[in-house]
Symmetry: C2
Subunit: 387 residues, 2 copies
């Protein structure tokens, strides 16, 4: 017996808008109203809010503003259940009880595929809320309102969501684009300096591998950005978000292949976060990772000394450290699980066997390589230590 | 301040093959080996098996055959962890502990995005295994080996997966195409008659709304199919699977809109399953639902009496009932939650406010309508009761 195989092939189109605003819940701001009305429905939609407790603490007027806003637009939306505040920061992704609590709410308040499930917070809260929204009823409409620089220009505008499990970061998750992303710059006013600065590292990353003009902007405005200049930050977030979206759309949105070209500076960053027990935050680790791979690129003759100096100078002016002691532990022993260089092996395993690392060919252009010279990595670390 | 919105838009391509075979784990059957090698990898891949206990019980040699097969192809695959047997049937989708057990295995045996997670069983086990595979590491490669008629021609070849929660069917799930589907007809030999027959209802459904020639095939072979003729069943499954795949690819694979055109006969079927506490199985309920909507189509003058007679005759020859007492409970009272007609309202809510029901225009062509006449539904039920 031979029965021919059937070949299934199709494409699925996804689209969503990333909006920028201030005072999202001000009475006269119609953005949320307008976004909800895009679904063409006639009846008021159910809307459910989850808020990062770090945001709630710094914006005590927020809960009242949300309630008033929804009430003022009762023809378009109605609150489903209470506004739910959950712990912010990485810790929330370690809590299966929070996933359960949010799923409970979906069930209790009859939130269906025509309702809206809104997360307001940093990247961690958005990852968790997005995960719940993606699996409840095979996907309910999810609106992200990111409140940190990192989430407004990178983590909150993409298609990934996740929670941690078995002590492993992002063990559970999937790919599920949001219904819309609403970036309100006012939230950024209350960030800690470290979180304000941290998100800038992702913009620096994307500028170095893709856009020399954007690098020049960051270079020119580095001191202003460090001093929390809002217009400079707004431009930075907008441009970084734009490039991040283009990267996703033009590449492999659901990571079906195994290349990860936006991960410049990230092989060591991930490892340093882990080696420091997350004392070093993601953006801080990425800044170091960028410095390291830039020095390495120079040592290999890929970029000039003048280019390297510009990069190092920008990173310092932004207020980032270039070196942390974890970088030197077992430095020469790439096989040691506690060495930074072990991160290369972990990165290769993650990519599925073939190592791909982004280096710099010049400012504004990245180049992929498939091996890293351990001695040169060592030399680069020594150099960063001495700056 | 006005900063322009960014529009994100992209398409994601998905593809997978549905293969047909017999003796999948026979030493000389290279199908699994060939499918795994398609990934182009050089090293042996980790492969993990989950087996429906109904299948394991009826195929006692299966576990040994899997082990020998993998050992014989050690250059291409290696077993990750023990072959895991879980309870089959709807009950497995109600057990959060099973989701946890399978996620545990992913963690313990280091099953990553380059490994294979294989489910062998009926639609329920495949829904559960597919769900775990879709969320672990944001999606690991999932191979489905369906063992019932329904899962080989319908549920196991599509893109949906799910488990139940809060007592609600398919409360958790998402859309995630499999890596491949391997239909082995030998599994069907051990099905209960009711499950053998049940899957035929989905083929009848698709033939009636899309393909008169396929209906003629079922009509001509109805007695053979009822008598468990294997070649007739093989053709039926292949053609039904083909049309189901085309429907998914040509329509709205991830159900982003709100139409569900393949749900002919299903508005009453879902309700009857529920009203009967699942005594009436899905395929049996679908057969009744088809009969009901065919009579209704005739009462509205859409199909001729001769066409209706052909449809009813096929359903009976296949061995299905045309009527169950649950259909008459509160029949005239569509507002009563225990009446079959309440299913119309539930169906509308599920679709998001607008009712869309498929009826027949002729054999082989469906037509969508947006309201149902309660009196005519009543009349159709009375007619089915009297056949
Ligand atoms: N999904 C993705 O594609 C993706 C990409 C990169 C990173 N991430 C994830 O993002 C997370 C990091 O996100 P993050 O950098 O936004 O930090 P975060 O979410 O961990 O938040 C950091 C702290 O800031 C607080 N906070 C948030 N907004 C605030 C505000 N406006 N004012 C004052 N405090 C505020 C939070 O309560 C928290 O304590 C990580 O879990 C990471 O895995 C996801
Ligand atoms: N994902 C989808 O798109 C989709 C579509 C329709 C239905 N479904 C789901 O499919 C499930 C129904 O699937 P089903 O009809 O295959 O039934 P099932 O999975 O419930 O299995 C029925 C019984 O048959 C046993 N069994 C399975 N294979 C056998 C074999 N070869 N020999 C002997 N016994 C065997 C099982 O152990 C079980 O006891 C439901 O949970 C339904 O929700 C999913
Ligand atoms: Zn990053
Ligand atoms: Zn069905």
């Amino acid at each position: 017996m031979h029965i021919p195989s059937l070949k299934q092939q199709f494409q699925v189109a996804f689209s969503y808008d990333v909006h920028f605003t201030e005072g999202l819940f001000n009475a006269d701001n119609t953005l949320i109203r307008d976004v909800l009305k895009q679904d063409g429905g006639a009846e008021p939609r159910k809307i459910f809010f989850v808020v990062d407790d770090g945001v709630a603490a710094q914006h005590p007027q927020l809960m009242g503003a949300i309630t008033s806003y929804v009430a003022a637009h009762a023809d378009v939306m109605q609150l489903s259940g209470p506004i739910t505040v959950i712990p912010g920061g990485e810790q929330c992704k370690n809590e299966p009880a929070l996933v359960q609590q949010l799923l409970d709410a979906v069930n209790t308040y009859h939130i269906d595929r025509h309702s809206y499930f809104v997360g307001i917070g940093g990247g961690a809260v958005l990852d968790l809320v997005g995960y719940v929204a993606s699996v409840a009823h095979r996907g309910i409409r999810h609106i992200r309102i990111p409140t940190t620089v990192l989430s407004q220009n990178d983590s909150g505008i993409g298609v990934k969501n996740s929670v941690n499990a078995f002590g492993k970061k992002n063990f559970l998750g999937n790919f599920a684009p949001p219904y819309a992303v609403l970036n309100d710059f006012e939230f950024l006013l209350t960030l800690e300096d470290r979180d304000w600065r941290g998100g800038i590292a992702e913009a620096l990353k994307v500028s170095l591998i893709k856009d020399a003009k954007f690098f020049a902007f960051i270079q020119y405005n580095a001191a202003k950005l460090a001093a929390r200049d809002m217009p400079a930050m707004q431009y930075l977030i907008h441009r970084c978000a734009e490039m991040h979206l283009q990267h996703i759309a033009g590449g492999d949105p659901f990571e079906q292949g195994s290349s990860r070209p936006l991960d410049f500076g990230h092989w060591s960053a991930h490892k340093l976060e882990q080696l420091s027990n997350y004392r070093i935050r993601h953006g801080e680790a990425v800044a170091i990772g960028i410095a390291l791979d830039s020095v390495y690129s120079h040592l290999q003759g890929r970029i000039t000394e003048a280019e390297l100096d510009q990069i190092i100078s920008v990173i310092r002016t932004l207020g980032f450290a270039l070196y942390e002691p974890e970088m030197s532990v077992h430095l020469a022993d790439a096989a040691h699980p506690q060495s930074m260089q072990h991160g290369l092996q972990e990165f290769r395993e993650h990519l599925g066997g073939k190592l791909t690392i982004m280096l710099l060919e010049k400012i504004g252009r990245g180049v992929e390589v498939h091996e890293m010279d351990g001695q040169l990595v060592e030399e680069a670390v020594r150099k960063l230590q001495q700056y």
